[in-house]
């Protein structure tokens, strides 16, 4: 009986198990393996042990990409998260039309990133784009944005913030609505100011939501690709060359699969480490369960 139940369950799982194995787990194992070879597409692979990793350590370009990646994550995540919380607080009020605004702010989440990358390139166009035209109306001489090594990365970051703030707002809104109103009533009776209430009630009780939003968004930010591909292609120079993009170029434009695999392992390790740190941080801080 028990065996039969096991069998039915495995039968139901089989297609998805095959998918997860063949298209996720096996590839990770292959990347780990390939990273130990020197392999350019048309050559046959030669085993070189840790040579690719030694090359990584001494590669100034990779170090630069790591810095750009971290900078990009630091540009996007705080702004995106704070804006989402503020929006959620506003849309948690009882005012007319909140449902309309709630839905409206989520629209960019579905936008095709490749298409939106082009649209924003047009907005950031130095001579004729909407942004600089607008700035010139108010008497400011705007920079060349995507053609400027200082402004290119923040411009790409702005697109991500535009695309995901509203979607993240939904999670915070759901979190806010799970906080019992009595807590605020009690705090107000004790004379706590709205700011104190926010710091001592709202923020701590949003911890599970914060955890989910931060973990998923950080993983996403580390992997920015589509918008970058159409907006800057890593340029100007290598000012927006994040690690994810360098891996793509090394593998699919230079066909240096061994070295690209070593870089991919580095990115994977980095994301894993940051995620584990976040898990630890939030495990220590989330002491109560609101569900």
């Amino acid at each position: 009986m028990r065996n039969r139940r096991n069998l039915t369950a495995y039968a139901f799982l089989l297609p998805s198990l095959f998918g997860v194995f063949a298209f996720l787990l096996l590839p990770v194992a292959i990347v780990a393996g390939v990273s130990l070879f020197h392999w350019e597409l048309l050559d046959s692979p030669t085993f070189t042990g840790l040579a690719n990793y030694r090359r990584l350590v001494h590669d100034g370009g990779v170090r630069h990409s790591l810095l750009v990646t971290v900078f990009y994550v630091l540009l996007t995540i705080p702004v995106q998260t704070i804006l989402a919380v503020v929006l959620a607080l506003l849309l948690n009020q009882r005012v007319r039309g909140v449902k309309f605004f709630r839905a409206l702010y989520v629209v960019p989440w579905m936008a095709t990133p490749i298409a939106m990358g082009l649209v924003w390139s047009w907005i950031f166009d130095p001579a004729n784009g909407a942004l600089n035209k607008f700035l010139s109306v108010v008497g400011i001489d705007g920079p060349a944005w995507l053609n400027d090594t200082t402004f290119a990365l923040p411009a790409v970051a702005a697109v991500q913030i535009w695309q995901y703030t509203g979607y993240n707002m939904l999670f915070f809104l759901a979190g806010l609505q799970g906080i019992p109103a009595e807590l605020y009533d009690a705090a107000a009776t004790d004379g706590a100011s709205p700011l104190r209430q926010f710091v001592h009630i709202t923020l701590p009780l949003l911890n599970p939501t914060m955890f989910f939003v931060l973990v998923t968004n950080v993983i996403g930010s580390f992997q920015v690709f589509d918008t970058l591909y159409v907006m800057t292609e890593g340029g100007p120079g290598d000012s927006t060359e994040v690690l994810n993009f360098r891996i793509f170029q090394t593998a699919f434009q230079q066909f240096d699969f061994g070295y690209a695999s070593a870089m991919a392992m580095l990115l994977f390790a980095l994301i894993l480490l940051i995620t584990l740190l976040q898990v630890r941080y939030f495990n220590r801080r989330t002491t109560y369960d609101i569900s």
Partner: protein, 268 residues
């Protein structure tokens, strides 16, 4: 905060949210000379269909057709296989369930670009580059995210109904088909929308695996518009309009599902 201030902030936010869409529409219906002689935020009078005609002439609609086909097949695949797997995880007891489920969750952390390299090498070995099979295979059996979403939903449905059905001799397939699925319409709708959006917008894998015309999808075609001579923004915006429009329509029709999906996945 006072009400007028709230509305003020919300309206500014709404404008920033919608402006890129507005710009796509405005630019698409301008001629090349209008583009540089008018302010970007002003419409051209009369509107010109020139960009859309040129877009159609470039074969773009074929690639949109490919995208639609890919999206339909992947959505059906995801709904089917995810339902089975999620049912097993939510309702059946079997050896290794917890470990397997955590494995599934952990795979969500694997960066896309990490799996792209070996997947390309595998498909190349199997001569599946530039084929429909190569394009669809990695996603058609469902995703860990979808399984997670459906499992969470199945677990909110009380077991009493199933127990009753089982006493009457119903097998797991009957229980799934007759009892769980009819009760799961909102979750299935959510999953369908999420999959549709992701498939429609997918770029990296199609870029790698389907550069040939027979399987090229709209996102890849849009990226090549970028390389068109002299930064032809009218054409690029026309392409973007065609790619963005269906998703906006889907959004407007199903937005309450999406809001609900957030509550569903929101950690409960």
């Amino acid at each position: 905060m006072k009400k007028p201030a709230i509305y003020g902030v919300l309206s500014v936010g709404a404008f920033l949210t919608l402006f890129p869409y507005l710009l796509v529409v405005l630019t698409t219906f301008k001629t090349r000379s209008d583009l540089y002689s008018t302010k970007p935020w002003l419409p051209a009078v009369p509107p010109s269909l020139d960009s859309l005609h040129r877009l159609a002439d470039s074969g773009f609609l074929t690639y949109v057709g490919h995208t639609a086909l890919m999206t339909a097949v992947l959505t059906v695949g995801q709904l089917t296989f995810t339902t089975f797997a999620a049912y097993a995880f939510a309702r059946m007891e079997f050896r290794g369930r917890e470990v397997l489920f955590w494995c599934y969750l952990a795979t969500m952390m694997v960066p896309n670009v990490v799996t792209m390299i070996p997947l390309f090498l595998i498909m190349r070995q199997l001569h599946l580059v530039n084929t429909w099979f190569g394009l669809l295979a990695p996603y058609i059996l469902g995703t860990p995210y979808g399984i997670f979403l459906m499992r969470q939903f199945f677990r909110t449905i009380p077991t009493d109904l199933e127990d009753a059905a089982r006493i009457d001799g119903a097998g797991p397939l009957t229980v799934l088909w007759r009892i769980l699925l009819p009760l799961s319409r909102p979750a299935l709708g959510t999953l369908a929308i999420i999959t549709t959006v992701q498939s429609w917008n997918n770029f990296l894998w199609p870029l790698i695996i389907s550069s040939g015309d027979d399987t090229k999808v709209a996102t890849v075609a849009i990226a090549t518009l970028r390389q068109s001579i002299g930064g032809d923004y009218n054409l690029m915006m026309a392409g973007s309009l065609v790619a963005l429009f269906p998703m906006v329509v889907i959004f407007l029709s199903f937005q309450r599902f999406i809001v609900r999906s957030v509550v569903l996945t929101g950690l409960k």
